[in-house]
């Protein structure tokens, strides 16, 4: 069974990059274009891991984490935050909201897969 990833990012470029890397690595890839759509899609997709951008229209990444963590059933799903900065305060804030980890943009294939492995155990 493939590991299901729900990626939430308003940048088409980043979505395509994620799709290319993840599909090649054997993940099942789903994406949403903003936080609101991501949260709406969540129960349909029922992902094993969520990757979300921070700066997005409608609902930002922190909002996504809060909404997902706010419901009992999702309280354990790993959520990785995509960020361009590796600033400690941003990580702290994401973690405070309940993020599992982070992926620093620009990411390469190896670090993306490595991050997913550490939170899902899956190589694919």
């Amino acid at each position: 069974m493939k590991t299901k990833v729900l990626a939430i990012d308003d940048s088409r470029t980043i979505r395509n990059l994620l799709a290319a890397t993840l599909e090649e690595a054997g993940f099942e890839y789903h994406c949403a274009v903003d936080g609101r759509e991501g949260v709406d899609m969540y129960s349909d997709v029922d992902p094993d891991v969520v990757i979300t951008d921070i700066n997005m229209p409608n609902l930002d990444g922190f909002g996504v984490i809060e909404e997902l963590r706010g419901t009992e059933i999702n309280s354990k799903v790993p959520i990785l935050v995509l960020t361009t900065e590796s600033a400690p305060e941003l990580k702290a804030r994401a973690r405070g909201a309940g993020a599992t980890g982070w992926i620093t943009k620009p990411f390469d294939d190896a670090s993306l897969i490595f991050a997913l492995k550490r939170v899902t155990g899956a190589a694919a």
């Binding site: 274009v33 899609m41 029922d46 939170v119």
Partner: protein, 727 residues
């Protein structure tokens, strides 16, 4: 794979830059709505994110500063004053330039780049200035902390045994981190033994389900460097008690220090200082091989159970792109649309061939067939219009780019002017939009450079200090009208005339109407700049603009009022794929003349023809003389029959010069599909393109301007006319 994704990135950049421009324009207009600021921030941020993925470092660095300043604005730590807005506008322009360079190659104006960076930095508080944008190294994850610092010296991968003590705090479980997965990641690096330490586990009564009692002792034998081992625990740093001790830590540190010492004391050090590769692998640990830790009294469910949930419906794929924009759109490769356009063109040709063949059948009653044929024709037209609409794009992005041209030109000339855009949603064929960019740029630079006066002069003339240039687009009876109107000084006619005389373009005593003087601007080799300014100069004149417009099948006019400003009007066909043409025959050949250039058609009689010089002839039309230009002669065709050219097409060139094109006969007026000759044969003087007629034959589409330009009679007459005007 990155090729197509990179294309996506540049496409997306266009949209994001557009959004940035649009937002900044709104801000410039006084709209300081936080959502506008947020939208710009996100756009710039996305550009940065994408650029990072493709290693476009200049773009990343610049976008980062730009974004940081915006973040300050967003957090209300900076006021959007006029000075900052101007800086942001220029930064946005520069960002576009950087994207262009990244996409098309070329050079960035480095001085400008540095100036802007420095100007942006002034708005960034000290502690934010650190550009902590860390591109991921080749190996991947960024090391956590710098424990064991010097161990980073060049090391041949050697096995090391790490003893890891891992004790999660209860907070860790709230973040979705799972010890089991961390251990799996470690196991992939080498040989791992895991020992569960449950000594802290209290009695059942005392147990708090939300607390964390378990700890693990791990022994990992791996060739991976320490940084990679540490990286496994990156996400739980601070959420656990963690210690990682390598068996060779002390040794490695000593070696690294020795290496450093050696470097400083004896500069040309040879390899002797490298750490001693003595892998004393300690394999004597008596722990059991890897076993998944039994999450015995683990209070919460593991996410692994999620895998067992029912598979999700796949409904989301279709709705991905729908949000955010007002209407759903479909992205299609341009080539597919062009193929469709081509096919529709063939369909129209096919229709006329069919109609012609049916007409040739000599069937008595064709009424039903004709009705059906008419229906066919209308449907083909509908399809054609539909396809044309696909290629049509609003001029908005083009117009928005022009705002930047005006800003740059204003800055370079020390003038202040603003560009007001109107009719941005007017749709024009994509190719037309692409090819309009250069002429518009040139006209706008000219308008700023020569049209708009310096602020003090404007005030002296009782005008607002800031000049205004109005760029508008509208549809006008089957064509597109682009107007560039400035409120500057207008054409300096005495000066223009003087220059034209100095350059020998007109005789000294020429008497020209105002409009004729204005049109001198379009003559090749004309440039009013006293010295070539680095702005609109560049050695190209308005003649290049005119050629570009006529190359699109359009026309350009200028009108000007002294002290009030000038207006350039560009009239363009809606599409480049079809046009209305007059089908004529010339020396037994069928040809097409664009309707747009024809003023009048007439049959000539001998008494209308007058001789001029040895070979020239003039046509007398209602008391006026117009030079006759024989198309057959101009194209080098010979008539086999005795038939003479007896039909005249009166055409007018852009400079107002009139000429009668002599052809043998006029057949029809119809819409023809333009087929480019590019790549089929070289440039033929006098021929613009070709088309396929109803009978399947190829017909050349003539270019009246170039035929007239090559005609000695027309040239001689034109000089004559100017001289007679002068006397």
């Amino acid at each position: 794979m990155s090729g197509s994704i990179q294309d996506t990135f540049f496409e997306e950049c266009e949209e994001l830059l557009e959004a940035t421009d649009e937002g900044l324009t709104a801000i410039e207009g006084g709209d300081h709505n936080p959502e506008v600021v947020n939208a710009i921030f996100r756009a710039v941020h996305s550009i940065k994110g994408g650029a990072g993925a493709f290693g476009l470092d200049d773009l990343v660095a610049f976008a980062h500063r730009f974004e940081t300043v915006f973040d300050e604005v967003r957090s209300n730590r900076l006021d959007l004053d006029e000075k900052l807005i101007q800086l942001l506008l220029r930064s946005s322009d520069h960002l576009s330039a950087l994207v262009e360079v990244a996409r098309d190659g070329g050079q960035v104006d480095e001085a400008h780049h540095d100036t802007l960076l420095a100007a942006l930095d002034e708005y960034i508080p000290e502690e934010e200035e650190d550009l902590s944008f860390e591109p991921m190294g080749l190996g991947g994850p960024t090391p956590v902390g710098d424990l064991g610092g010097f161990a980073a010296a060049p090391v041949v991968p050697q096995e090391e045994t790490y003893r890891i003590r891992f004790h999660p705090l209860k907070e860790m479980y709230g973040t979705g981190n799972e010890p089991f997965f961390l251990f799996q990641a470690l196991r992939d690096m080498g040989e791992l033994t895991v020992t569960l330490d449950e000594n802290e586990l209290p009695g059942f009564d005392a147990m708090d389900v939300n607390d964390s009692y378990l700890a693990w002792d791990l022994v990992l034998v791996t060739k991976e460097p320490r940084s990679v081992v540490e990286a496994v625990f990156e996400f739980v740093e601070g959420l656990c008690e963690l210690s990682i001790v390598g068996d060779h830590d002390a040794e490695a540190e000593a070696n690294a220090l020795a290496a450093l010492d050696a470097m400083f004391s004896a500069p040309p050090a040879d390899g002797a200082a490298l750490p001693d590769p003595s892998p004393e692998v300690d394999s004597g640990t008596a722990a059991a091989p890897f076993e998944p830790p039994v999450p015995a009294p683990e209070p919460e469910a593991t996410p692994a159970s999620a895998v067992e949930k029912a598979s999700a419906p796949k409904a989301e794929s279709g709705k991905q792109e729908q949000r955010g924009g007002p209407k759903p759109t479909l992205r299609v490769e341009l080539e597919r649309v062009d193929r469709l356009i081509n096919a529709v063109g063939e369909l129209i040709i096919n229709h006329s061939m069919l109609a012609q063949q049916i007409a040739n059948l000599n069937v008595a009653d064709l009424r039903d067939v004709e009705t059906e044929l008419e229906g066919f024709k209308n449907l083909a037209r509908d399809i054609q219009e539909g396809v044309m609409a696909i290629r049509a794009q609003p001029v908005k992005p083009l117009f928005q780019r022009m705002a930047r041209i005006v800003r740059e030109a204003s800055a370079a000339t020390g003038k202040t002017c603003k560009l007001v855009n109107e009719g941005e949603n007017t749709e024009v064929d994509k190719t037309v939009i692409e090819r309009l960019s250069d002429p518009l740029t040139h006209i706008l630079r000219n308008a700023v450079d020569h049209g708009i006066e310096k602020p003090e002069d404007r005030e002296a003339a009782g005008k607002p200090a800031t000049g205004e240039i109005r760029l508008s687009a509208s549809h006008r009876s089957g064509s597109v009208c682009i107007e560039i109107k400035d409120d500057g000084a207008g054409v300096n006619r005495p000066r223009v005339k003087q220059i034209a005389i100095e350059k020998g373009l007109i005789p000294e005593n020429a008497e020209l109407t105002d409009s004729e003087i204005d049109n001198l601007l379009f003559m090749p080799g004309f440039s009013t700049a006293k010295e070539i300014s680095n702005l609109s100069g560049r050695g190209v004149g308005m003649d290049v603009v005119k050629n570009a417009v006529t190359g699109l099948g359009g026309r350009i006019n200028i009108s000007s009022a002294p002290g009030k400003g000038s207006t350039f009007t560009i009239i363009l066909p809606l599409t480049l794929a079809v046009m209305d043409g007059m089908v004529v025959s010339v020396a037994d050949q069928t040809m097409v003349v664009p309707i747009t250039s024809i003023v009048e058609t007439m049959r000539g009689s001998d008494d209308m023809i007058n001789n001029l010089g040895a070979d020239g002839t003039l046509l007398s039309i209602r008391g006026n003389f117009v030079p006759i230009c024989d198309v057959a002669g101009a194209l080098g065709l010979y008539r086999e029959s005795e038939q003479q050219a007896g039909v005249y097409l009166l055409v007018e060139t852009e400079t107002g010069q009139r000429c009668a094109l002599a052809v043998d006969d006029i057949h029809d007026q119809r819409q023809v599909v333009i087929k480019s000759l590019d790549g089929v044969c070289g440039e033929i003087p006098g021929v613009a393109a070709a088309t396929i007629l109803g009978d399947g034959k190829i017909a050349m589409i003539l270019d009246p301007e170039s035929i007239i330009a090559a005609s000695p009679t027309a040239a001689a007459f034109d000089t004559e006319r100017r001289l007679s005007n002068a006397s």
